[in-house]
């Protein structure tokens, strides 16, 4: 129990808790509740019918594809970037770290636009692609590129502070004992970073599946072909098919809630496995929060 002279009077405490909870209830809980309320307003039958729609299914498949591509690519990039940055000294390291953060601060619409400028009808590579019959913009490859752009920093941003805090001693010991690079990574580094890596994967997949602005620019909104779930929600909403839009949106809300639960679990697991997390600093660097679900 906190002694009286180190805390506020009961009335002040109650007021702060009350105001904080009321603010969160209005700005967080109500929007979440309204998604399910609007989706289920006209009954379960219509709710399930909205999810069984073939366009909804193809949107769900495409959204899962986004996550399936973004996760492995970002894991490989994240590990490579964190390895180079935390295990070696080289000039321009600070600049490299800032550049890895760059996609966080770029507006998602700008992120989509750059790929239209590169591969679209007036783009640099358009003549070549046209001759080869390859479509990137207004097709799935464009969606993948835009998703990779916006999810670019997530895994790297988790691993860099974690690996920097852990230092090189264990890896150096392994090398001295004759481990090759492959053994070194699988037996020494990976077990140490697994929770941070998993955390980065959660953030990365949440963003990959929820991205709106960037994919909206490159999608072309072709039904059943280039609509991810968020884009399909937009189309239904703009057609005044509110119930169907909210039904599909509730699926995304459930995914978001699952990722919050996983995130809380990973945090408690990583604290337990590290014993004294405060000694190596917070595992979850605040910069990793920049724009997770942008769009």
């Amino acid at each position: 129990m906190t002694p009286g002279h180190l805390t506020e009077p009961l009335g002040v405490r109650a007021a702060i808790i009350g105001v904080a909870l009321a603010f969160l209830a209005i700005f967080l809980v109500l929007p979440l509740v309204v998604v399910f309320y609007e989706g289920l307003k006209k009954g379960w039958d219509l709710y399930l019918a909205a999810l069984r729609d073939p366009d909804a299914w193809s949107a769900i498949r495409l959204t899962l594809l986004m996550a399936a591509v973004a996760i492995p690519v970002n894991v490989i990039f994240g590990i490579a970037a964190a390895w180079a940055i935390t295990k070696f000294e080289f000039r321009g390291k600070q600049l490299l770290i800032s550049l890895i953060d760059l996609p966080f601060s770029v507006s998602p619409v700008v992120a989509g636009l750059v790929f239209v400028l590169l591969f679209g009808a007036q783009g640099w590579f358009h003549p070549v692609l046209d001759a080869l019959g390859i479509k990137i913009v207004y097709a799935v490859p464009g969606l993948i590129l835009a998703t990779l752009f916006v999810t670019f920093p997530f895994v790297a941003r988790e691993l860099i502070p974690l690996m920097a805090a852990q230092g090189n001693e264990e890896e150096l010991a392994a090398v001295t004992l004759g481990a090759n690079g492959w053994h070194l990574f699988w037996r020494v580094t990976l077990p140490n970073i697994r929770w941070g890596l998993f955390y980065g994967v959660i953030l990365c997949s949440a963003r990959a599946m929820g991205e709106f602005g960037a994919v909206s620019v490159v999608s072309g909104h072709i039904r059943g072909e280039t609509n991810t779930v968020p884009l399909q929600v937009e189309i239904l909403y703009n057609e005044y098919a509110y119930q169907a839009a909210f039904a599909l949106a509730s699926v995304l809300a459930i995914v978001a809630l699952i990722s919050l639960v996983l995130k809380a679990l990973v945090e408690s697991m990583s604290q337990r496995s590290q014993g004294a997390p405060e000694e190596i600093g917070p595992l979850i660097d605040e910069s990793s929060y920049r724009g997770v679900a942008s769009g």
Binding site: H5, L6, P9, I16, I17, V19, A20, L21, F23, L24, F27, L28, P31, L32, E38, I76, F77, A81, W83, A84, K87, F88, E89, F90, S98, L99, L102, S105, V106, S107, P108, V109, V110, V114, L117, L118, Q122, F149, L172, G181, M209, G210, F212, S216, P230, Y237, A245, F246, A249, L252, A256, L260, A264, E286, Y289, R290, G291, V292, S294, G295
Partner: protein, 296 residues
């Protein structure tokens, strides 16, 4: 390989040995591979695509570029995007500090759930947030209904833009202030109280200055995020030219008119603004890190 180097340094003498000493960290494998891959991926996926913005808008020429980025409709959109982002970040500054304080200092039922829920705006896709907020704040919505009798419209006005940006920026201040509050040494407050300071004086003169850099970092992050936000805003904004049209939306409408250079020109302005914000945020984080160093 390491033994080769050691043999070599023994053969060539102290100078070479010193050279080797200067780079002890290269003892681990994979430097070339990991850095090479990182730089190529960064270059191809991020830097090369972003550079097209400058090339494309340069095709306009300076005068035309200036005309595009200072046309009245675009300037009105800057005013809305930056003004609403500033207002929303300020609201989050105040309430974010309150929420962080309640989560760190007090116990109440359901605290763990509340703590996890703070991240909802990061996890919930922005399009979902956008339609949910619109449903809530429209004239017949649960909240909009309460304001309607007074003739106050929230959805489809600039007020709606601010509401969406408050939602989007909410976690930034909480999550930057929370760890700093947790690490704050209670001994400082103990000392302050024993020297006769009231609780308010202790907060104002001891606690607040320690969390100020984190508070401002969270503020800047929330602002930077809000300026470029698109998904949660387009549904609730109403998108009326000159009134409730955000800058990212203007980029899209240029693109829909096949005005690629015009879209790129507005995007350059937004990119420069985000680079500036990145600089400010790095500066704030440097301040925060140094402050901790000087305390230790």
């Amino acid at each position: 390989m390491m033994t080769d180097r050691l043999l070599m340094s023994a053969a060539v003498g102290p100078a070479a040995a010193q050279l080797y000493q200067a780079e002890p960290r290269r003892a681990l494998p994979g430097f070339g591979l990991s850095l090479g891959f990182t730089l190529s991926y960064l270059g191809l996926l991020v830097l090369l695509p972003l550079s097209t913005l400058f090339f494309k808008s340069a095709g306009l020429g300076l005068d035309a570029f200036w005309d595009v980025v200072t046309s009245p409709r675009v300037v009105a959109s800057y005013r809305l995007s930056f003004g609403a982002a500033l207002l929303a970040a300020t609201v989050n500054l105040v309430f974010g500090l309150l929420v962080a304080w309640a989560l760190v200092r007090y116990t109440f039922p359901g605290k763990k759930v509340v703590d996890a829920l703070v991240d909802l705006p990061f996890a919930l896709p922005t399009a979902v947030a956008g339609i949910a907020l619109t449903a809530l704040y429209a004239n017949n919505g649960w909240i909009g209904r309460l304001f309607e009798p007074f003739g106050i419209k929230l959805a489809y006005t600039p007020a709606g833009v601010v509401i969406a940006l408050i939602f989007i920026g909410l976690p930034f201040v909480v999550r930057t202030v929370q760890p700093v509050l947790e690490d704050l040494e209670r001994e400082l407050e103990e000392a302050s109280a024993s020297l006769g300071a009231s609780r308010w004086q202790t907060f104002r003169l001891v606690i607040f200055p320690s969390v100020l850099p984190a508070l401002l970092t969270g503020y800047a992050l929330a602002f930077a995020r809000a300026v470029g936000e698109y998904g949660s805003v387009v549904f609730i904004a109403g998108n009326m030219p000159m009134v409730s049209e955000i800058t990212p939306l203007l980029i899209i409408s240029r693109l829909e008119q096949y005005d690629y250079a015009g879209a790129a020109a507005i995007a350059v302005v937004m990119l420069l603004a985000s680079l500036l914000m990145l600089l400010v945020i790095n500066g704030l984080q440097f301040w925060q890190a140094n402050r901790f160093r000087s305390e230790q």
